[in-house]
Symmetry: C2
Subunit: 386 residues, 2 copies
């Protein structure tokens, strides 16, 4: 597997747009289109929040036949809690894009992200969609156009044998591992049927997006979509591996760019009796505010890790737990390990930290992706609307 | 019901101690004793965290007969994740206190709160317990001696007919509604059998401590204990009401003093179809970091409230939800309500805010107690150990 550039545009036949249409202030990019020159098989997963955004409902409806050819997305306003008008607006966004691109309305998927409870500024959307066909390019800033509080764009593309997978994602707050909770658009040319694509996407998301946490708030509007032009025959297990890699890399990028975060935390739980135990413990640790604050302060407060393990509801035996931070043992058989605390504190200042929790009970493992919690998390979210 | 002063000391026959024995720095109070001059019926509830502190296990064991006569507690170190030595230390603390007080070891309950993973400084404990019988008084600073990051002591006492209930509590971080998650000691003279006391304590905790959240981390060492001298005949339903009131008041005091908090939030969910729905929604809203940050910033970001409602897993109909903050309607039938936003922002600056969520489906209700999340929450917890 080779990592290549250009995100979703890496796939042959895919072009895109990232531009400003005036929803966000200061001319920031806020409108994105991803277009395939031929119809694609497609699959998507959606937020588990029971309040669901209008764009998500429209996309779900349009994807019932497992086919799509374009995605139109805006950032700045999420079009959630907007009732019938919100549904009408999302439908219109798909219809306008379809008409400009010369494809069927049901082959356009729509997505919106940003403030909940406000209506889309439809005049700006209409004007922005006008003439998009001519703006499509291989060198677009599409990954930037879906950002909200993100500070970095998130994209990746890989090549395996003769097929490619490209993906972009956004997400910085309201990120919690409970089905897909962010925007993620993935393209590929690997020939896969829509039901199979759906199955593989779910499996990949389960090990990546669903194991990721910034703040335990599951968003209302987020989804992950994969579209395939089906132009290249692909080995199924290689495709699975590659899609899983793409999803994990995007999950890491989202976690590392968590609101107010200063470092990426990767929590690996190993030697669990059951896979579900490993998942629960990894998610409980990565979700703990207190653990996140300790890592922000480079404070090796392992008691909080044990507390989070205890809160997971998973099976473990306290006296068998061993914990390492960046390879340095800090908990031995559930108790304080003898260690060079200054060395550990220095290691905790890295931008990416590995925490390994060995349960010593079986052979199952799981990994979760998250970040520390800095004072900026509060500052960003205390004044999000204003 | 009359609110009176003096916490646990309000009950006849109860005396106590709050003093410094050198576990915490700067001569801060860190050792507490509550003593009854006669044996009591007693009941307790404990943390649901699967990592449990040694003092909790010892207390559970000593309470098997439903009787107790004293509580010995320290703050600064929690004696959790300390293995056999931790158990031995907790046992010794009970034994030394019993010997000084001239009562049975199994009639002493022990509790510790503070840093997880460190051993109790037993030399200081032994010295501190020496001669306690002579230090017992009605005017002790017992409520202060159990504080950790608390900034205010939490105590209350009530008188109903001829019986009294007095309580003290501590708790500021690692506070999450999942069984009792803090230290709380309650005394009474109302004559109640131990099994009945247990039942009533559980019911009261379910509506108070279990509906309280500072940071969604359930602690390893916390418990609520009630001891009755049984000297006064009490009307059972009046006792229930009074104990419930005491627990709720202590829960409010803990929530208001949450780490880094600037205001108390009281979330009432009403007109739910089932009680459990109301509880889930109230807890989900009070636990949301994003909701808490918005209230810190006096930002009426109701989209986050709807998002938290959606994440609760409870039954509701988006279009029927009405939300008021301090009596001002902000969500009407699931959508933005017309309102005076500046008036609302001014109201949000109060030290105690009521949020009412009307589901419009049935007659069940529940109330949760929490606080906003300020930048100080992160500051306090980034450097807790150092």
């Amino acid at each position: 597997m080779k990592i290549i550039g250009n995100g979703v545009n890496a796939v042959d036949g895919i072009t895109s747009i990232g531009k400003s249409i005036g929803i966000k202030k200061l001319g920031k990019l806020d409108f994105a289109v991803i277009y395939s020159d031929k119809p694609c098989t497609a699959a998507a997963i959606y937020t588990s929040n029971n309040v669901k955004g209008a764009p998500l409902l429209v996309t779900k409806n349009h994807l019932r036949n497992g086919k799509a050819q374009a995605i139109a997305a805006n950032s700045g306003i999420a079009n959630v809690c907007t009732g019938k008008k919100g549904m009408k607006d999302a439908e219109e966004m798909a219809k306008l894009a379809a008409s400009e691109l010369g494809i069927k309305k049901t082959d356009v998927l729509v997505a919106s992200t940003g403030l909940i409870g406000a209506y889309l500024p439809m005049e700006k959307i209409r004007k922005g969609i006008n003439g998009i066909k001519n703006e499509l390019s291989k060198n677009s800033r599409v990954a930037e156009a879906i950002m909200t509080t993100d500070t970095k764009k998130k994209e990746i593309a890989v090549e395996v044998d003769n097929f490619r997978i490209g993906g972009i994602a956004k997400g910085s707050g309201m990120i919690h591992p409970n089905m897909a909770t962010m925007l993620c658009f993935i393209t590929t040319d690997a020939k896969i049927s829509s039901p199979l694509l759906n199955k593989i996407l779910k499996e990949s998301a389960n090990e990546s997006f669903n194991m990721m946490c910034v703040d335990t708030d599951t968003s209302t509007s987020d989804m992950a979509v994969v579209m395939s032009t089906c132009m290249v025959k692909a080995d199924l297990s290689k495709f699975k591996n590659a899609l899983s890699f793409v999803c994990k890399e995007l999950a890491k990028k989202i976690a590392a760019d968590g609101e107010g975060a200063t470092k990426l935390l990767i929590v690996k739980v190993k030697n669990a009796l059951k896979k579900e135990d490993a998942r629960k413990i990894a998610k409980s640790v990565i979700s703990s505010n207190l653990v996140k604050c300790a890592f922000y302060g480079n404070d090796p407060n392992w008691g909080r890790l044990m507390c989070a393990i205890g809160n997971s509801g998973a099976h473990f035996i306290e006296q068998k737990v061993n914990v390492k931070i960046e390879g340095i043992k800090i908990v031995e058989n559930g108790r304080a390990a003898a260690l060079d605390i200054e060395l550990l504190k220095r290691n905790m200042q890295k931008k990416e930290l590995g925490i390994t929790i060995d349960l010593g009970l079986g052979i199952q493992e799981a990994t979760a992706y998250g970040c520390d919690m800095g004072t900026d998390y509060v500052k960003i979210n205390a004044l999000y609307r204003t």
